[in-house]
Every structure is written in C-alpha cells, then in structure tokens.
Amino acid sequence: MGDIAKAIDAEAVRREILAGLPAKVARRREKQIVVNKADGSGVSPEILANTRTLPGIITQRGCTYAGCKGVVVGPTRDILQITHGPIGCGFYSWLTRRNQTRAGADEDNFMPYALSTDLQDNDIVFGGEKKLRKAIKEAYELFKPKAIAIFATCPVGLIGDDIHAAARDLSEELGITVFAMSCEGYKGVSQSAGHHIANNAVFTKVVGRNETAPEGEFKVNLLGEYNIGGDSFELERLFGDLGITLVTTFSGNSTFVSMGQAPFADVDLVMCHRSINYMAEMLETKYGIPWFKVNFIGAKATAKSLRHVAEYFGDPALAARTEALIEKESAEAEAALKSIRPRLEGKTVIMYVGGSRAHHYQDLFKELGMKVISAGYEFAHRDDYEGRKVIPGIKVDADSRNIEQLEVAVDETRYRERRTEEQLEALKASGIPVGDYDGMMGEMEDGSLVIDDVSHYETEKLLEILKPDLVCAGIKEKYVVQKHGIPLKQLHNYDVGGPYAGFQGAINFYREIDRLVNGSVWKKIRAPWDLSPELLGSYGSD
C-alpha cells in the first residue's frame, strides 16, 4: 500500500463525488474518475478521455480556436495572425497567454497586435469571404509580413466562407505564405482538436519552407514548449551552454524561418505530448527525425532529459559538458531546496490542468516532498494518461473523426535516416523513451485519484473531502479555490512569474510554492473575534 493509499480512500471519494451527480452525468463521469493502480504491471486502469463535456456542466475547457491560435500558432511572433469572425475571439486571445518572445531590433514581432475581420450581421448573411480577402490585403499593406495565418471562428464554417481559397489566392497575389485553419470552436470536444489542426497547417505550410541549414554539431527541435513565463528562454540558455543548436521550438519564441528549418534537426524533443505529438510523428515520417519525450520541469527531470539528449548524440565531449552543467545547476537547485523543503514536506496537492502539465509538475512536487493525491487533465487523450501503448485500442468517435489526419509521405530528397533501427533500439534499451510516452498514470502513486475534465462541482467536492494544501489549475478555478483559503497556482499561463523550466526554473517554482503555501495571508482569515466569540467582558485595559 503506497503512501497515498494510506492517506486517502480514493474509491470512497470517487463514490461520494458520483453520488452527488445527476444519474446521466454520473454514468459518464464514472469512467472519467478513476482510482489509479500502480502494481508494477505497466498497465494503468482505463480512463475515458477526449470525450464531450455534458451540456450544463461548468467545465474549465475551451474550444478548438483556443487550442489552434491560442496555444500552438499564437507564440510565433512573425506570422501575422488574423482571426476571421466576430470580434470576441480575437480580443480574448490577445496577449492573455503570456507566451514570451524576444525579437531582435530589426525582426518582426506581431504578437502585441490583435487582428480581426470583425464580422457584422451583413457578413453573416451574405458571406465574409470578400471581407477576409480585403482584410488580408490591408494587413499586408500595414505590416509587410513574411507569412499570414487565418483562423476561422464558429460562424465561418456555417456560412461557408472558403478561407482556404482566399489564402491560396492571396498567397499568390502577395507573394508570401498565407494559410488558413478551419479551427471553428465547435469542432472536437476541447482545445485538443485545435492543436491537431494547427499541427497540420504548420507542418504543411511552414515546416520545410526554409532551405538554409542552421549551423551546429548537435541540432534539436523542441516541440510542445510555448515559452509561458520564459520557459523556452531558460532552455535556450541550457542548450546554448551545452553547444546544442536549438533549430526551433514549436512554438515558444519561434519564427517563421526557424520553423521552416525544422527538417534540419537531428532529433525532436517532445515536451507537451498532447498538443504536438502529431508534428513529431509527421516530422519522423517525412524527414526521418526520431523523437523522444522529455520533461524539463523539475531539476531531476531536467537532468534526466539532458542526459538523454547527450546519450542520443553519443558524443563524449557533449556528455562531459552535460554532466558538468548538471552538477553545477543541480547544486544550485539543491541549495535552494534545502531551506524550502522542510516547510512543504508532506503537504498535499491536487492538480487538474492542461494536457501535459498535470504530469510534468509532479516531478517538481516530488522534489519538494509534497504529495500529489489527485490529478487530471483538461483536454488530454487516453494516451496522455495511460501511455501510447493504448493508442491502437482507442475508439475514434465522431468528434475526433472530423479532424483531418494528414497522410504524410516520405520526402525523397530530404529524408535522412538519423539513427538506424538498431541504434534506436539500443537507445530505448538504455531508458530513452524513443517515439514513446508512458503517460501520467504510470508515474502516479497507487491509490491516487485521476480525474479527466474535472468540473466546478467536482472541484468543490474534492476541496471539501481532500482538504489539499495546494491546488494547481487555471484562472477560472483560481479564486473559487482561494475563497476557501487554499492557495492555487495557475499552471496554464502561470498568472505571473516563471520561468519554471530547467534548474533555475525549478528554483523559481520552489520559491513560488513556498510563497503560496506558507504565505502569511492564509493565517489571517479568521478575525480575532471569530477565534474567541464568547468573551463578553474583560479585565484591565486589554
């Protein structure tokens, strides 16, 4: 029996939550609320994920547009992005995700701009395609970008605007790359569908469009890292110190040019498996770039991932540099941890966030000695929970079927075998997750509670029953939880702060969690008169 199983009776918690739900809702939710088994078999219990949220449930999920523009394409600073639709979608995705970017003085940076066709009722009735075409031209006149991306919002698909034809024509007319994404909000069941649509578009319209080979001996792409709070900057620093060339990230602090050069990389390192695994697979099929899963959240996880990178390249000098860097930076992280850990040891955490972070951040909490008693994702699929081994068995439902799965062929001129099958097998044998991801549940303790697409109602019940010391979730949950007097760390865009990636990021996170959990304000919730209400009179002057 693990520590967690001793601390909570997950099955009882699960039953209590389900008992409070209407029967129809409970029937669905009982498959999405699962008690974890970690019995060493390598097989996790099956969880239902990537399925519709029932109407009326106060969910934390967003939409396809949010996943497409907000998450994947948004962080690329020099692709001018136009939202085709009424004004709201473009407005809400304007600078709210904290994707940092660092443009040189002469480089384009369009991220502080929100561009929209601001469709009006006439456009809805008579079609908005003409307006879109005009808007693209006007945007080109104003900004002279190298590339323009168009994002469809809900009504666009319904009124039948051919945004792809508009993109094609304008691409020709303007002599730049113009591409469109049919990422209407109603497609799919969450942001996840939008990730896939964005992957497809970036892969076909941007990747491989730059023929200039980047310099460097060891070239990597970093996939699924969006530079929230400067995470990519910290990783760029580490790679720079090690002499590793980061060709591009997908997509934090990236550019049209850098993504165009992606096929030159020797290996793809995958951070957020959920949002970018499509890209990793397509790059492998078309260009022969192997990929493996990394995690740069947590000092130990960072060290492990860096060692995997060094081992992949098999260069003794790189290995030595890597060990030296790990030794130096780990020591700094250890030193910071030493004073903080005693204040956090044994505290409990629940986290429901994203499609990878609820997994990645568990490593940081382990370093802090805190227990993750329950976790789940907002928009992940079964493979993110149970590992990629379950992919062949996942039933593709109607909501997923309408998201295009690209047929990718080998690029005969640019395909290059980076490692032979035998080499890759050897790397796997030494513990590098080549082409694989084991998912979150395998790393969670036996008897912990795993919950997909947690709702407001369930979060309230969990707070009441589990009384955690810390919650990790998003902005919509933040103040609900904090009204209870329980701190919440926002792990979508971090609210403030970061970076949390790498060793220095880990130090930032240790301090942030110490600030949140041990902050003075939580001790002041009860007023003096609440603590001793019966006292009616007093002696002396006090």
Binding site: P55, G56, I58, Y113, L115, E138, I525
Partner: protein
C-alpha cells in the same frame, strides 16, 4: 529606439482600412450579458454556444475582478452546430438546476447559435412543458449575436431581458424609483446605492454586482454571493413611479421597455461620472423622488469642486486621448472639459449613432486636428498619437502598450483592467468617484512633471 517599442509596426501614416480591425476597442456581446446576469441574485449565466465562448468570458471577467465568475455552457460540438442546440440546452437546464441550484438561468446566445438560428423562447417553452424547470425557478434569455454591436450591446440586451421576463405592472405604484445601472463596477453600484440612500430616495437597482464580484475572503466560497438584485425587486420595477437609465447604450433598451410595457416613465441620463453628470443625476433623483438634497451630498460636491479648483493649474490646457465605451466616454469627456482639459482624441469600438451628437452637446464639435473614432480601434488612435502626441491617455489595460511606446501618462479606466486592482472597491461614479478619478489623473500628470524636471525645477510643494 525602435527596438524598445512594443507596437513597433505601428506607423503614423494612415493606410485606409475597410475590412481589418487592429487592436479592438470593444469585445463581443455575450460577455456583457454574462456580466449583467451576475448582478442578479442566484442567477446563473448560461452561454448557448461552444465551450470556448464561456471559457473566454469567464477568464476575462475573472482577470478583471480577481473573483470567481460562475457560468455554464451548452458545450456545442459539430453535431449541435448542424442539428441545432435544442437538446444541448434542454440537457443543460436539467443539469444546472440539479447541480447548481440557481433561481434563474439567464441564457445568452453566441454567434454560433445565432447563425444556426436556435429559437431560445421555443426551447425554454419546451423545457417548461417537459417539467425541466422546477417550480419557482426560471429560465430567461437574451439574444446576443457577437456580430452586432459590442459587449455593451450584450449587457443592454440582458438587462432588458430581466425587465422583459419579470417586471410586472399591477397598477399599484409603490414609492421606489427604478434605477438601471449601466456597465459600471461593483464599487460604482455600491456608490450609487449609497448616494440614493443619502438622498432618502427608496430605489431598486438593476443589475447590482456589488456583493457579488467584490466578495470578501472568508474561508468559504459562495456559489451565489449575498449581493445581486432580488427577483422580487425586479418584479416590482413594473410598479415604479419612474425609472432612470444610467447610460443610454447600456440601459436605454431596458428603460424603454419598462416604459412601454409597464408605463414607468423613463429618464435616460449619462452615467454620473464627474461633476456635471453627477449634478444631473442628483438633480433628477431629487425631482423625481421629491426629496431635498442633503447637506452631506452638497458637501461631497463641494469637496470635488474644491479639488478641481485647487489643482486646476495641473489640468488646464492639457490634451487627453480617451478609449472606452460610449456611456463612459461621454461624461468622462465632459468632466475633463470641466477641468479645462482638451479631449483631442477619442475612440470607441462600440457603434451607435447617438454617441457623437451627445458628445458634441457635452464638449462641442471636434476641432481641426481632433480625432473622434466612433467606431474605431486602438490602432487608429495610436497612429494619431504618434504624429501629434498628447499629455494624457485614459483607456483600459490595453492602452498601456500605447502609453509605453509613446511615453504618455496613463490612467486605467474601463473594461477590461487586467493588471491593477482597485476598480472593484473604489468607485469612479458620483462626486467621490470624481475625486478618485481626478486624484488618479493628477498623480500621473504630476509624476511626469517630477520625472522630467531638471534638478533646479524640482518642486517640493506642488
């Protein structure tokens, strides 16, 4: 240094635009409907559309208020978008009454459900017929297509919906004045109530987000905080002897409906921002309620006037650029003009024919070199400021990018404010709100004088 600019691609030269909006000075209708519905006690806003709408609106309101914002969604998928959202909404109604126990579910539509053409009253009728709405509980709706108007329009539609669904005329007038609040902060709602109480005029305020979006930290979360207009009070609005709508864009529709439906005579005023607009509000309440203006209110007025005169040397002749919503901008511009400042640039994203004439009444016609963009966007405003500059910028949080690049003293005002606190707690309406606004303006103007002063001109006493 071009590299230090945030909006480095913005140039002064105007390239005509017909189709492209850049850096909008508005957002879409549904968020306004959601905000208005939160101002009614035990009301759960419901977004009839994709999940993303509800998520974006809740996030934006949460960031603005740093408070829980509870709302539900019909969670449309592709099927609902093809076959209509009826079954989603019916299921949502059942689930919401069962799980969240609201008294009212306030449905607002989105561009998606409007484009499909979902007939919400029909769906509500069906829910009622099928017994999905428990006794004493209500489902109401407002049509808020995102492709018409702006967030202000959505607010207006939802306030009107409350009147439409609930206000009743029994023929027996009571002594309460109906006040329809424009889109102002919880702090402003509280200040309106305080002023009305001070005047001794009994009233009903709709909506009222004070006590909802300014909740204290107590160690308990309340799904429905104690604030918000009571349903019984909304019913009673139909028997008011008069109604005042504060801000024509946000409350005109509801005030008109109350007049035509319940024969409650309407009075549409500017939001009481600044001295003159507050004067008109107080004077109107005095006349309608037949009360005298108490000394306490007269003293508040006097203190604002005192501050205006004491500090006149810092405001006189200064040029100002404004961006925001029409109901706020009109009285704000008037207040600044009362301070002998010059409103040279003004932008709102909200369309509406009545705005510019009203502005002209309050501050006069635009002079050569002035810019009044109604509707226009922040990009257009920025271009004008690039070529001519200004002494002060007043706008929502997005204005800070312009203020940063052009080095303009900046006061945050309007929606959304994503990067400062205070707006939930300290009002801008009324005489006291005017003092707070003036204090904010003076602070940034005087900080600037000190920042730029050569040592020999650096003053101790100002």
């Amino acid at each position: 240094m071009p590299s230090s600019k945030l909006l480095k691609h913005t140039e002064a030269a105007i390239v005509p635009r017909e189709a492209l909006t850049v850096n909008p000075a508005k957002t879409c209708q549904p968020i306004g409907a959601m905000y208005a519905a939160l101002g009614v006690h035990r009301c759960l806003p419901h977004s009839h559309g994709s999940q993303g709408c509800c998520s974006y609106h809740r996030s934006a309101l949460t960031r603005h208020y740093k408070e829980p914002v509870m709302a539900a969604t019909s969670s449309f998928t592709e099927g609902a978008s093809v076959f209509g959202g009826q079954s989603n909404l019916l299921q949502a109604i059942t689930t919401e009454f069962s799980l969240y126990d609201p008294e009212i579910i306030a449905v607002h539509t989105t561009c998606l459900s409007e484009t499909i053409g979902d007939d919400i009253p029909q769906i509500i009728g069906k829910a009622k017929a099928e017994g999905k709405i428990p006794a004493g509980r209500y489902v109401i709706h407002a049509n808020t297509p995102s492709y018409i108007g702006s967030h202000v329009t959505g607010y207006s539609a939802m306030v009107r919906a409350f009147v439409d669904y609930f206000a009743e005329s029994t023929g027996r007038r009571h002594g309460k004045l109906s006040i329809l609040a424009g889109w102002v902060e919880p702090s402003d709602m509280a200040e309106l109530k305080r002023m009305l109480a001070e005047l001794g005029a009994p009233f009903i305020l709709l909506p009222d987000t004070s006590g909802v979006l300014d909740a204290p930290l107590t160690g308990r979360f309340e799904m429905y905080p104690e604030g918000g207009t009571r349903l019984d009070d909304i019913r009673l609005m139909g028997d008011s002897y008069a109604a005042i709508g504060l801000g024509p864009f946000a409350t005109g529709a509801a005030a008109k409906l109350l007049d035509t439906k319940c024969k409650v005579p309407m009075n549409i005023l500017d939001l009481p921002i600044g001295l003159s607009a507050t004067d008109r509000f107080i004077d109107k309440v005095r006349k309608l309620a037949k009360v005298g203006v108490p000394d306490s209110i007269a003293k508040e007025r006097g203190r604002l006037l005192d501050m205006m005169s004491d500090m006149h040397q810092y405001t006189y002749g200064k040029t100002v650029a404004l961006a925001g919503d029409p109901d706020q901008l009109a009285p704000l511009a008037e207040f600044l003009t009362d301070l002998d400042m010059k409103v040279k640039y003004l932008v709102t994203g909200t369309p509406g024919k009545s705005f510019e004439p009203r502005l002209e009444e309050l501050i006069g016609k635009a002079e050569p070199g002035d810019y009044r963009g109604a509707p226009a966007d922040l990009f257009a405003l920025h271009q004008r400021l690039k070529s001519q500059g200004t002494d002060l910028l007043i706008a929502n949080t997005y204005g800070k990018l312009i203020a940063h690049d052009e080095d303009i003293p900046f006061v945050r005002f309007g929606f959304p404010i994503l990067d400062r606190v205070g707006h939930s707690d300290f009002p801008y309406v009324g005489y006291r709100g005017g003092m707070r606004l003036l204090e904010k303006i003076l602070s940034v103007l005087m900080d600037r004088i000190e920042r730029d002063a050569p040592n020999e001109k650096f003053e101790l006493v100002m």
